[in-house]
């Protein structure tokens, strides 16, 4: 249903009103209910309004509207949400529950997961495509099959059917049906079998790999063992919101370093209230996680270990957000690639226009001003003169 409504320009050409300050703009969303200025300056009142969208979204799938904080609950520390789950209840991701005082996963991790996969021919539309071994040959021969791009080979795209965030602009929102139905469920062995001689990289995405990381670890480990025996290149990459526990992130870094893979974090916003309004959860641990990965970038200079991307949500992911994210990343390492992605209306956030050309160009300028050396724009065809 959301999909059908998503491309109705009448919705995003209209001026909408901020319920707190009364400001009007085409770049204010009625779905969020408040403007970015109010979110940043009066987060308590703004979030009371903005979080309603998440309660609505999660209710459609029988899940809690916020990460649960039950005083007598059991705390799950798999991801940064650290849900405290009361007896008989379920975590924000929908995959972990408290059964008789014990955390139980609704799927048989690590052997099985709610996940699907497909072969994605190289060059793919990967956010790291401009500098990855698959498309450029960087790191050849250790990390790339060919010196100028692996034409004729495939990425094994592994789509996890759960997420620890609830982005109201989600472009892969159908994963929510997978969580709800706990289907499809695949055994790790099916994915390892699929990672045959045609495959040079595996990308874990979704949804997000975070709620089911142990399955991804098992697939990665076995696929790497197989590739080593068959004397083949096999890179393991991750496209994630980056809000997993630090120890799990350490393992992601280890696997990526060893295999030549790239860790791709989608940094949705800098300010916590903006992040919460867009995703339903806090970003407090995200920048710590980024700083941790940055410490390891020099361990493998041939292929970038890490990149960040940000979706330019009109009116919300504005100059301030881009400036602060860029400043943070540039101080860690100015060579970290940063890709700014054009937004299009999707899932629930259908009353904002696609990103304007002016917004995108300004974002690139700001990111460069802050010292980032490798800034690019993705989904460029979506840009127009919308605001």
């Amino acid at each position: 249903m959301w999909k059908l409504l998503a491309f109705d320009p009448r919705k995003w050409r209209k001026e909408k009103t901020c319920k707190l300050c009364g400001g009007k703009s085409v770049t204010i969303s009625e779905v969020i209910g408040v403007c970015a200025t109010c979110l940043r300056s009066n987060s308590t009142d703004s979030l009371k309004i903005a979080l309603k969208a998440h309660y609505k979204s999660k209710k459609l799938y029988n899940l809690p509207g916020e990460p649960p904080r039950d005083e007598k609950g059991v705390v799950c520390r798999n991801c940064a949400n650290e849900c405290s789950i009361g007896e008989g209840n379920v975590g924000f991701c929908g995959l972990v529950e408290n059964r008789k005082g014990r955390l139980r996963w609704r799927v048989k991790l690590p052997y099985q997961a709610v996940v699907d996969w497909y072969y994605d021919p190289i060059p793919t539309n990967c956010v790291a495509g401009d500098f990855c071994p698959a498309t450029t040959g960087v790191g050849y021969p250790k990390y790339a099959k060919a010196p100028r791009g692996e034409h004729g080979y495939y990425n094994l795209a592994v789509f996890y059917g759960a997420c620890n965030l609830d982005c109201i602009f989600c472009q892969n929102w159908t994963y929510r049906n997978n969580t709800l139905k706990l289907s499809p469920v695949k055994n790790y062995q099916e994915l390892v079998n699929a990672a045959d001689g045609r495959v040079t990289c595996i990308c874990f995405f979704g949804g997000d790999p975070t709620p089911q990381l142990s399955h991804a670890f098992l697939v990665a480990k076995k696929a790497l063992e197989r590739a080593k025996q068959e004397n083949r290149v096999m890179r393991i990459c991750w496209e994630t919101n980056g809000l997993m526990s630090k120890n799990l992130l350490k393992e992601i870094v280890k696997i990526s370093l060893e295999s030549g893979g790239i860790i791709k974090f989608d940094v949705k916003a800098w300010s916590e209230p903006i992040y919460k309004a867009l995703t339903g959860v806090s970003n407090r641990k995200l920048f710590d996680n980024i700083a941790f990965i940055a410490e390891h970038i020099k361990d493998r200079p041939e292929v970038p270990l890490f990149m960040a991307s940000t979706l330019l949500v009109p009116g919300y992911v504005d100059e301030y957000e881009i400036r602060m994210i860029s400043r943070f990343i540039a101080r860690l390492d100015p060579s970290i690639p940063y890709r700014l992605l054009a937004f299009h209306p999707d899932y629930m956030l259908v009353d904002l226009p696609p990103t304007s050309k002016k917004h995108a160009m300004n974002a690139v300028k700001i990111a460069k001003e802050e010292g980032l050396e490798n800034v690019s724009i993705g989904n460029i065809w979506l840009l127009g003169d919308y605001y």
Partner: protein
């Protein structure tokens, strides 16, 4: 010969199964409570969370211990 004692604080286990994924030779899921335990081969007595492993499995046990999100796996050297 050097051996290593592996201990899991099972009360704190969140059942994410990362240790099982990274080191199935030592860790497995307990079907009753869903938590991780030491495989029968290396278990010491009746304690599901305590075992002694040979030196060749030390690296695998360490990888599991480092990835554990609640840091409940410890490894110490024992002389036999």
């Amino acid at each position: 010969m050097v051996k290593y004692k592996v201990t899991i604080d099972r009360d704190q286990c969140i059942s994410c199964m990362s240790c099982v994924a990274l080191c199935p030779d030592i860790f497995e899921m307990n079907e009753e409570d869903g938590k991780t335990q030491i495989v029968a081969n290396y278990r010491v007595g009746d304690n599901l969370g305590e075992g002694v492993i040979p030196e060749n499995l030390k690296g695998c046990a360490e990888e599991a211990a480092n990835a554990c999100p609640v840091t409940i796996i410890s490894i110490e050297e024992v002389q036999e």
